[in-house]
Amino acid sequence: MDLEFTDDDDELRANVRSVLASISPPGVVREIYEAKGDAAAVWEQMVELDWPGLGIAEEHGGVGMGFLEVAIVCDEHGRATTPGPYLATVTQYVPMVRELGGDHAAALLADVAAGRTTGTVALAEAGSWDPASVRTTAEERDGVWHLSGTKSAVLDGATADRIVVIARAPGTTGTDGLGAFLIPRGAAAASSRLVLDETLPVADLDLHGVVVPVDRVLARPGSPGVAAAIERANQEATVALAVNAVGACRNIFEQTVEYAKQREQYGKLIGSFQALKHRMADMYLAVERASALAWFAVLAIVEEDPRRAEATSLAKAAASDCERLIVRDGLQLHGGIGYTWEHDLHFLLKRAKACDALYGNGIHHRARLAEIVGLTGICTRETTTTRATTEDAS
């Protein structure tokens, strides 16, 4: 296992960092926060640089790189708390369209690669991104599909040009009967939420009465491979968020260390106090721990490793541990200045928290891990056995 970046990777990262420093510096982020600007210019410049198509195959008009390169952008994107449709379009919509495949995929991907459209995925309901929790239904009547249900926390849900809606055949449960439908912006009533992180706007979608023509069905409910495709796309989206969170956390950590080297109290630099040194050493470890697992997950996805699902949940769980410590200690060690609106630190604190909440937090992913490594399976099985034995005995 080799988790070290190559010179090419480093070069891409340096390039992305310098571009983001120029197109989404803290001043631009602040304008979004203070409702004095939008992210349109940020996205336009990304389009100019071919970033939307970075991970899209050349045959679909993309650059033909892979998820590793996309993840490098995500890392820097988190570090800069970049606003705009990049995360939803590139790490949610594109993987979902690609994995679902079918007749539409090529044209939809080409539209993204060319910068013509943005997109997102409407999957979550009531705070769960687990496809098995989907209750929104899709029914075919009179040659069209009728959607019914409510989606929550759709990233860019009010602004993305195209939305992939995950819905199921009525009466099905679990991963059975899942399907995917493409709707344009405005087809469903979107209510924008008041969000903690203004750079990651989410909206709830009311799908009642939304009608989808047959030629906009990406996957008919219950057709083979749909659940697996959604799962794979979810893994990319989840790992992208883990990487994004780690990028934000690393920045908080670095700023905290810098601050501790400048701030004096009692005639001494606060960074010389052992109590703070130890906390910063722990912050360093938390970032490295999360980063190592995030890149392990990126590789597992790139290499189609059988541990994809496990690596995904490990990455998101570790990003969560990292975020918990870094947000707490980063804010605490900055003292009063970090608590003020004028200081830029809160953009990062909020990004880290938002990434944690999206696509399952640490507790959720540890529970998933337990399923993946077979702990809950063992529990269920053995509970049944224990019960049977007890009954035999009585």
């Binding site: 070290e4 190559t6 590793l68 050493a281 490990l314 077979g374 702990l375 529990c379 053995e382």
Partner: protein, 395 residues
């Protein structure tokens, strides 16, 4: 970046696995005569070391005459992984093989290599490392054991403590002060001292777990005469060797920490499978969360270790390795704590001494993890090092 090794490395792995199947000590012979100290070499261990030395599997990275096969760093890593998987200890004298021998090879004379290092490589002798003293623990440079050259001999007086395996070792790689005038770091030398030399008294320090099998010792040195040809390297150059020793120790020690953690995790999962079904839902959920926290630690340890390793193989530096020791030992502490709590009934038990030093219940294992967080630079010292050397925080 990639997840797998190349074909060459996998061929190397296959060759070693095949050799191991034929030549490994059996589970029965290991259990019949368990090692009870880190310098205790039971009969089976001596024969095992000798077979590895003979066939070039003792230190794969070294040349054949030193018990190796000039293997690369990645091959060595694979080799250590396979040994751990097979449940076979590489040596029962880790300080001897891992620190003392490499230091003698680096700094010693050809005669010293023949007389002191080679017998350890053949499993014939065991060595201990005399570093810590009552007033020189984490602050090793403060050591005060005195060696005065008088004609053909050094006369050594002083006291060592926490000396692992001194109660079984044949000789000691002893750090002494040879110049009291020089600054602390510059007056230290290393002597090779036979443990049966008159004037040496070893007092084992029973530990909080398995007091019947002490591994740590106090070593008292009173007018001990050591031939002057037993000086390793140059007079007053001991500090370089102390740093070298730790470098040897840290070179691949991370891998052992990771592999141990993985072993513990596998065991914990099996343990949990037996206990969890008997618990109520809320209690079970709480345990599952903590167990998976440890699972995440375990996978992170592997990824962190390998990432740092990749950097070192390419000749770069890997500052995060500085925290590996603290991270792995603390992760092991959390893991064994959860494992102990998982079985409240078993948490009251200790192991019978007849099972040897290394058989332990979960709560006993929890206590022994403090060996990792306290020794060889405590976790607090590691944090200071990271804060100052890696993060550049002011002293």
């Amino acid at each position: 970046m990639k997840l797998s090794f190349g074909e060459d490395v996998e061929r190397f792995r296959a060759e070693f696995v095949a050799w191991l199947e034929v030549n490994r000590p059996s589970v029965e012979e290991m259990a019949a005569e368990p090692a009870v100290s880190s310098a205790h070499v039971p009969g089976w261990a001596r024969a095992w070391t000798n077979r590895m030395f003979r066939d070039g599997w003792l230190v794969p990275g070294w040349p054949p005459e030193r018990g190796g096969r000039n293997a690369g760093a990645i091959e060595t890593l694979v080799y250590l992984e396979e040994l751990e998987k097979a449940g076979v200890p590489r040596t029962t004298n880790p300080q001897g093989l891992g620190i003392v021998v490499p230091s003698i090879l680096d700094y010693g004379t050809p005669e010293q290599v023949e007389e002191w290092a080679m017998p350890v490589l053949r499993g014939e002798k065991a060595a201990c490392l005399g570093m810590s003293e009552p007033n020189a623990g984490s602050d090793l440079a403060n050591l005060s054991t005195r060696a005065v050259l008088d004609g053909d001999h050094f006369v050594v007086n002083g006291q060592k403590v926490w000396t692992s395996g001194a109660n079984y070792a044949d000789f000691c790689f002893l750090f002494c002060r040879t110049d009291v005038e020089a600054p602390k770091h510059k007056g230290i030398s290393v002597l090779l001292v036979r443990m049966d030399t008159p004037g040496i008294t070893v007092r084992p320090l029973s530990e909080i777990v398995h007091p019947a099998h002490p591994d740590l010792n106090e070593v008292f040195l009173s007018d001990v005469l050591v031939p002057k040809e037993n000086l390793v390297g140059v007079m007053n150059n001991g500090w370089a060797m102390a740093n070298g020793s730790l470098a040897h120790e840290r070179g691949m020690v991370w891998l052992n920490s990771v592999l141990n953690l993985e072993d513990d995790m596998r065991e914990l999962l099996g343990h949990a499978a037996g206990v969890l079904p008997q618990l109520g839902g809320l209690e079970r959920g709480a345990f599952v969360d903590q167990i998976m926290q440890s699972y995440t630690d375990t996978m992170a340890a592997r990824c962190l270790g390998y990432r740092g390793f990749a950097k070192l193989v390419r000749g770069g530096s890997a500052p995060e390795q500085a925290l590996m020791k603290a991270f792995c030992s603390e992760a092991q502490q959390r893991l064994t704590m959860v494992a102990s709590e998982l079985d409240a009934d078993g948490a009251l038990d200790r192991t019978d001494d007849s099972a040897g030093r290394y058989a332990m219940t979960w709560p006993e294992r929890y206590f022994t993890t403090f060996g990792g967080t306290i020794s060889a630079g405590s976790s607090e010292i590691q944090r200071n090092i990271v804060a100052e050397k890696v993060l550049g925080l002011p002293r």
